[in-house]
Amino acid sequence: MMEQAFFLILATLAVGAALSVIIQRSPLYSAFSLIGVFACLAGTYIMLKAQFLGAIQMIVYAGAIMVLFVFVIMLLNIRKEETALDKYRYLWLLSIPFAATLIVEVLYTILKVTSDFTSLPEMAKRPEVGDSQSIGYGLYTGYLMPFELTSILILLAIVGSVILARREKD
């Protein structure tokens, strides 16, 4: 009961912050709203017993990725989206049926498909997952190849962004 109330509070905050992301005209306010969404999602991760990922969500997403976004917004000195965009007002009108279709479709699927498999007896016998130990066992034994490939991805990201962001002159 307490957990459900807490989930509802977190979900309301997350949806409100997410709406704020797309309603704000200034990208800086959008970025700070997005940090709110990430914090609320970290709370839901912890409620799902994915404690490690909840911490990583705060460290990587809210702590590093959003810092990068805010840096770029300040770097380019963007105040607002240009006001000449009012000719795209029709996109807002178009987006409402689009969003309604998407949400009805997904919610219908969720309500139809989700069965109560969590009360199966063999499910209760399995150990809980989500602490850093279980993540480590999964990542460094079964998923070793993706882990090593991740380092190549990160290497490419370093090289790509250093090349793209440097000025040609110096």
Partner: protein
Amino acid sequence: MVPLSWYLALSAVLFTIGAVGVFVKRNVISIFMCIELMLNAVNLTLIAFSSFYREVSGQLFVFIVMTVAAAEAGVGLALVIAVFRNRESLNTDDINLLKL
């Protein structure tokens, strides 16, 4: 105990908001942020299933997705800077040529 469908519904709502944001926003950085929002909605789904099935693979997917999101943000924002340097604009309608 919060049922699984609640998490999925929250994820669906967040994903829809992100998709609408990509649809209506005209600023490259705002579109980027909406994409991050959609990635996070999918992450929530993966973690919810992983936690209810007690199977660690879903959380490892999320781990990899976060890494990919970090790499994507690094390279994508560098692209934004490079485009802005040449075009002096972040509007997606001004960025309509493949060459810078």
